[in-house]
Amino acid sequence: MTEFENWDWETKEKLISEISEWRRKFPVIHEYVVSNDGEKISAPVKTQEDAFTVCVNGEIWENTFEKLWSLRFGPDDRLTCLCMNDDEWTVATDGETWEETFEYVWNIQFTPDGKIIAVNVKGKNGYRISLNGKTWENGYVEARDFALSPDGKNTAAGVQTKGLGEGDIFGFAEGVWTVAVNGVPWKRNFLNVWGIAISSDSSKIAAEVRVGEYEYTIAINGDIWNETFKCVWEPIFYPKGEDVLVPVQTDDGWTLAKNGQIIWERKFVQAWHQKFSPDGQRIAAIVAPKIGKWTIAVDGSTWNKTFGDAVLLPVFSPDSKKVAAVVKENNRWTVAVDGIPWAEDFDMIWDPVFSPDCNRVAAKAEKDGKYFIVVDGKVGKHGFEALWSPIFSPDGNKLLIKAVEDGKYYRRVIPVEKI
């Protein structure tokens, strides 16, 4: 990530690009993306028949492609997309394409520093993963999704090791799926593998596995837990070390288990999306004590308030003390902080962000077709045509706002009180 402390936190307003101009230049413009620091706006554009390229701040890349999609800024604000010419797909970053081409590529992932870009690929040798154009040696009948370790050293994907004929339920029952790490499969196969996680030091890889049709457990580097469950969801690693935390379903309901042992006594009708606080000491998860009653549980005890429709991912404050989450009731969206929802509700709301001093919470929200910045439940004055999630300045007093107004894309830095 470009150090966000070093971003321009002074200039109050920059008109980055008049995107209404683009509309005059290009017959077709796809979805816009903006850089993390807000200095760039970009979109795939059509220049002529069967020729697409990328437009950044009004300038286009030199090369064109027959197809181009999945455009996005990486954590280092380089611009990456998937592109195709002559039925050959590859990855392009800032206008440079990989030398390697494939029958197909999809699912771009970045390491946190943005240096490594990895994708699923399909080629003559089957399904593989490619990192910056360097592709696994082993190909598989199929590989779906993958996980990328933070250091970029390991990639792991669920892979099918053996082809199956049509309707071959007996072959399937023997287990043809496993996890391949950097192309090398685990020794053991399973009915299914899903939800792969990699430990912070990159040494361990965990996945949900199905060992019997109705027996679920977790495998770590290919070895399974002794315990099996009625069902499990995605594992995550403890921030330090090799312990694994997983939502598991028992006869009495869902709860969390650490290395196979249940750690929350209370059982829920649902529990998922467990998350550690930044200090690694607390665990939050989305839970439903009853059908149609959703809330957040922190270390096993729930918020007092429940929400009828849904609760989304818990977000910890940097000091690990508070938890905020998007909540929905009666088809209206808002944010709740430590169980207390904002008074205002919205047609849609995006994940909340805490200020570095943990005192404020901001989010992008939509109402009546316009987008607003909301801070601690207070709705900003401006309704924008397009808006990206706000970012707090390092001192927490200002907000970086990336927004489109009157066909122009602005980067603004404004004091939090002045939204």
Binding site: V269, K290, I291, G292
Partner: protein
């Protein structure tokens, strides 16, 4: 014999009937709560909507499709439930032991209603024997239950008219009445207890959840 049958046994049967019914309903509620997916979907409005369409004759499609059966069913049940409650002889007994009484129907009416129960029960019996789709799902227990349901009416009728030895008939009658009461909570006769709730659930599911009709 008569004293025992008309004394303690009556007590016992009523206690079992009422206590048993409460027990069945309470355990149903408890189980339903544990099943988790029941109560969140219940709706009073749609429960009532469904019940109304199924306790009014011909208010549901299937009732209209089988008019004869519908008339028989309603006649059977109305007479079966109302006759014993508003019967003069029964009322006198209530008065004797509890000093309470309520409206009673003319004896002739009661007589006719009793006969209706008996004849509709015979219809049910024949239906069970004749219709393949009913016979296929008929067990001995179905005949037994029909007998349990109709026996108090036959015996009561015979006792009332004193065509057979009165005392014996009366004892038989009381015993058969008691058997029926005891049987209600513990056999399929408990459909009397559950009817409201199975309908309410289906009514809620069709109405509140699925936005359609269940009749």
């Amino acid at each position: 014999m008569y004293e025992f049958v008309s004394g303690p046994l009556v007590w016992i049967s009523f206690i079992v009937f009422i206590g048993g019914s409460i027990y069945r309903l309470v355990s149903m509620f408890k189980l339903a709560d544990k099943e988790k997916v029941i109560f969140p979907y219940m709706s009073l409005k749609y429960s009532l909507r469904s019940l109304i369409h199924w306790i009014i004759p011909f208010a549901s499609t299937n009732m209209r499709r089988r008019p004869f059966m519908t008339i028989i069913t309603f006649a059977f049940h109305i007479c079966l439930v109302l006759t014993p409650i508003f019967l003069l002889s029964h009322n006198l007994l209530w008065y004797q032991s509890w000093k309470i009484s309520w409206w009673t129907m003319p004896e002739r009416t009661a007589d006719i209603m009793t006969i209706i129960v008996i004849f509709t029960a015979i219809f049910f019996l024949i239906r069970r024997l004749v219709l393949p789709e009913v016979r296929f799902v008929t067990f001995l227990s179905d005949y037994a239950l029909l007998t349990v349901a109709v026996a108090p009416f036959i015996t009561g009728f015979l006792a009332y008219h004193q065509w057979l030895p009165y005392k014996t008939m009366l004892i038989l009658h009381i015993i058969s009445g008691e058997i029926m009461l005891i049987a209600i909570p513990f056999t399929r006769l408990s459909h009397m207890l559950y009817f409201v709730f199975t309908r309410a659930y289906m009514g809620s599911e069709f109405g509140a959840v699925r936005n359609s009709k269940d009749w």
